[in-house]
Each structure stands twice: as structure tokens, then as C-alpha cells.
């Protein structure tokens, strides 16, 4: 079995979180809904990528759009979590930086039809900083153990996912064109990380607070 086939199958590990999200969507605290959208978007993009690779030979276009949509949804989600509530300008600034970097990398410097690593690295760093900010804030605000805290699990998953994604994207950025086998081997590390984070997100969705059992957190 080729790495592409393995990655295709393992990529569908997000389906567990997506199906669970569908079941509990109406029962959860509405502030968590953007995270369910992120999970669904991940599943949709993975399916679309497979289709695009089979039909056009490249998933660059949908991949480039997906990374922008994913980052914006994360900003929305953390805004709902109150992470930016004390600095009102933080949300528009983050959205502005993400949009500018995306337009610059995908429309001005490069084409939307090529996988562009520049924006992805910028977005990864922003996502990592957001996750760290939220984790530090949880130290002071979480009233229960963090192990079953959905927000904590989401941040941990983001930290792993985006750290390794930034690490992998560097290889695409410097275009090690001579070593396609090397790139493939390095990408295999990311496939394992992606699968682990997808399973972690299943537990994050499982432990999202329910509406009727709203735990008041001050």
C-alpha cells in the first residue's frame, strides 16, 4: 500500500469526531459550535482532496482555501471562548493578518493552483500562539481537572497539529525538489500526527459542555 493510500485512509479518522459532532450538535453550548464546523470542514476537505487528486491530479486549490477557512473558524471559536474579550481589537487584527498573508501568498506572489507554504506557516504560528494563550488562561480559570476539559484537549491537539504542520511546511517552502522520496518520508510523520490529533478531537467533541448541564465558570 502506498503512502498516499495510507494517508487517505488515516485521514478519515476525523469521521469519528464529525459523526459525534452531528449527533450532539444541538445539545452543546452554542459557543463550541465553530469547533464542530472545523471538524466537518476537515472531513469535507479530506474527501474533496481525494476527489481532486483523482480527477485533476492536485488538491492545491481546495487545500489553500481550506487552510484559510480553518484558521478563521479557529479565531471565531476562541473569540467565543472569551480569549480576546479584554482586547477588542485582537479579533479584527488576527483576521486582517490572516487574510493579508493569504492574499499575498496565494494571489500575489504565487498562484492558487500551487500548494503555498508561506501562508500556512504564518497561520500555523498564529494558531500555536492562540492555543498557548488559551492554555495559560485555563490554568487560572478552569474549575475542574483539565484532563476532561474539551477546550484543553482542543488546544493540545492544535499545539501538536500546527507545530508539526509548520515543521513539514518548511520543507515545502524551501522546495527540496530533488528529493521527492525525502518529502514523502517526512510527510509520513505528519500523517501519524494528524491521525492522533483527529482521535484527540473525538474526545474533545465528546466532552464539550452540554446546554442543560451548563457549568458556570467564573
Amino acid at each position: 500500500m502506498s503512502l498516499f493510500e495510507v494517508a487517505s485512509i488515516i485521514g478519515f479518522s476525523i469521521v469519528f469526531a464529525a459523526v459525534l459532532g452531528l449527533i450532539i450538535f444541538r445539545k452543546i453550548v452554542p459557543a463550541y459550535q465553530p469547533f464542530i464546523y472545523i471538524v466537518w470542514l476537515g472531513l469535507f476537505n479530506h474527501s474533496l482532496s481525494l476527489l481532486m487528486v483523482r480527477t485533476t491530479g492536485s488538491n492545491a486549490v481546495n487545500g489553500n482555501i481550506f487552510v484559510l477557512a480553518e484558521a478563521l473558524l479557529y479565531v471565531w471559536f476562541f473569540s467565543n471562548m472569551g480569549l480576546f474579550s479584554k482586547k477588542k481589537l485582537q479579533t479584527p487584527i488576527l483576521i486582517g493578518v490572516l487574510l493579508t498573508a493569504w492574499i499575498f501568498d496565494n494571489l500575489i506572489i504565487h498562484s492558487l493552483r500551487t500548494p503555498n507554504a508561506g501562508y500556512r506557516i504564518v497561520a500555523c504560528f498564529i494558531m500555536i500562539f492562540i492555543a498557548i494563550e488559551q492554555l495559560i488562561s485555563l490554568i487560572a480559570t478552569a474549575r475542574k481537572s483539565l484532563v476532561r476539559n474539551s477546550l484543553f484537549i482542543i488546544c493540545c491537539g492544535m499545539l501538536f497539529y500546527f507545530s508539526y504542520k509548520a515543521f513539514i511546511e518548511v520543507f515545502f517552502l524551501i522546495e527540496v525538489s530533488s528529493g521527492i522520496k525525502l518529502i514523502t518520508a517526512i510527510y509520513s510523520i505528519f500523517v501519524v500526527i494528524n491521525c492522533s490529533v483527529n482521535l484527540l478531537f473525538f474526545f474533545a467533541v465528546l466532552w464539550i459542555p452540554r446546554k442543560k448541564q451548563y457549568l458556570f465558570s467564573l
Binding site: 472569551g82 501538536f160 508539526y164 520543507f171 525525502l182 518520508a185 446546554k211 442543560k212
Partner: protein, 248 residues
């Protein structure tokens, strides 16, 4: 892969492993630090609540045991004065009435600070005594149901009493409710307090973004020190429900 690529791949693997270890260490540190912060926070709240209750008890006892008898003695002495003038007698009667009012008010303040019945007769009896008084004072109909009569510690009794008082206060002051249902269930393993009012309710999101009131923080703090859980369900226009569970 040629030998250079193999070297790059091995280096990438090592770098990835180091990154993984750093991230894991960071996450474990966060979990450990949160546990420590949580423990310190609970200890601080526990100490603050105990100090507050101790001070309330002391003031209540001083008022009830020292000022009360002193005023009674004063009244007795005033009434013992033999006067012939009717205007003097009126003055004495008036002073005696003021002293009676003062004694009654001191008893009320003392009860508000720390009901003596709370430790002598327990939570249920104190609430059964308090609720009719509250209904006379506030325009709200309170239905109180209870089941079970476990052996609760003094601290827990005081905390539960304060929580119920705070909920009644919130219902009257903020919820503008006309009915309040209170249900207290005491089993061998836990205490469950459920309340529901028919008031105006409030919006969770707004409550979270704005600084929550002191009363609500008090409820959370007292629930926390008893290692309990407070669940709140409120929708604007549809009333407010509290569900508090305290493990025994």
C-alpha cells in the same frame, strides 16, 4: 533516498521527536500548574469563608448574649423607677418600648448573621423557620420540599444555608420572580439542591462576557469549597434554575 536525503530524514525525525517531547512536557506542566493553582485557590477561598463565618458568629453571639441581656436589664431598671408625674411615666413607657424594639431588632440581626437554630436544630428546621419570614418580607411564593436527613458537617450546613439565602435574594432582587421552588435532597452520598423560579432569567453569553455579580461568585465559591458542582440553566424570559450537587 540517497545518503544525504537519509541523513536529512534522520535529522528531521530527531527534530520531530525533540519537538514532541517539548510539547508533551509543556502540556504536563500546564496540567500540574493548574492543579496547584486550583488547590491554592480552594484553600484561600476556604480560609476566607471560614474567617467570614467565624466573625459573623462572633458578632451574632456578642449581640445576642451581651447586648441583649444588657438592654433587658436597662428596661427592667427603667420600669422599676417609681414616678408620680404622668408625663414622666409616658417617657418611661416610651423608652421601654424603644428598648423592646431594640431587643427585637438585635435578635433579627443576630439571626441574619448566624441563626442559632442552624447548629442546634439543623438546616431543614432553620429553613422551615426562615422561609415563612422571607415570604412575609418579599413578594415571592417559596415552595420548599426536602427529602432525607443526612449527617451534615457544621461548615456544610452554613454553606448550604448561605447558598439558599443567596438564591432567594437573587430571585427577589434580580429575577423579579413571583414563585420559587426549592428542593433539597440529602442522601448517603450527596446533597442535591434544585431551585427554579419563574422570573426574567438572563443570558449566559452576556453573563460570561460581563463581570458576573458578587452574589453569583459567592454561590460558586461556596460550592467549590464543598467540592461540589453548580449547574445553572437560565434563558432570558424563561426563569432560572440552579442544580447544585455536593458529594458527602
Amino acid at each position: 533516498m540517497d545518503s544525504t536525503e537519509k541523513t536529512i530524514f534522520v535529522l528531521a525525525l530527531i527534530a520531530g521527536a525533540i519537538l514532541g517531547v517539548i510539547l508533551l512536557y509543556f502540556i504536563f506542566t500546564i496540567v500540574r500548574q493548574q492543579k496547584k493553582t486550583r488547590r491554592l485557590h480552594l484553600e484561600k477561598m476556604d480560609a476566607e469563608i471560614k474567617a467570614l463565618e467565624r466573625e459573623r458568629t462572633r458578632i451574632a453571639n456578642d449581640l445576642h448574649d451581651e447586648l441583649g441581656p444588657l438592654l433587658s436589664a436597662t428596661k427592667y431598671n427603667i420600669n422599676a423607677v417609681d414616678v408620680t408625674d404622668s408625663s414622666d411615666q409616658q417617657l418611661i413607657d416610651k423608652a421601654s418600648k424603644h428598648i423592646d424594639d431594640s431587643i427585637t431588632r438585635i435578635r433579627e440581626i443576630s439571626f441574619d448573621l448566624m441563626p442559632s437554630s442552624l447548629q442546634r436544630k439543623g438546616l431543614i428546621v432553620t429553613l422551615e423557620e426562615f422561609i415563612p419570614k422571607a415570604q412575609k418580607l418579599f413578594p415571592v411564593k417559596i415552595s420548599f420540599n426536602h427529602r432525607g436527613d443526612g449527617n451534615l458537617s457544621n461548615e456544610m450546613v452554613v454553606n448550604l444555608y448561605r447558598i439558599i439565602l443567596e438564591i432567594i435574594h437573587n430571585t427577589v432582587k434580580h429575577a423579579q420572580a413571583t414563585e420559587l421552588l426549592l428542593e433539597l435532597v440529602i442522601t448517603d452520598k450527596k446533597v442535591i439542591l434544585k431551585t427554579k423560579d419563574n422570573g426574567v432569567g438572563f443570558n449566559h453569553g452576556r453573563m460570561r462576557s460581563e463581570s458576573a455579580g458578587l452574589g453569583l461568585k459567592n454561590l460558586v465559591a461556596r460550592t467549590d469549597v464543598m467540592r461540589g458542582e453548580l449547574m445553572l440553566d437560565s434563558v432570558a424570559g424563561q426563569g432560572t434554575s440552579y442544580h447544585i450537587e455536593i458529594p458527602l
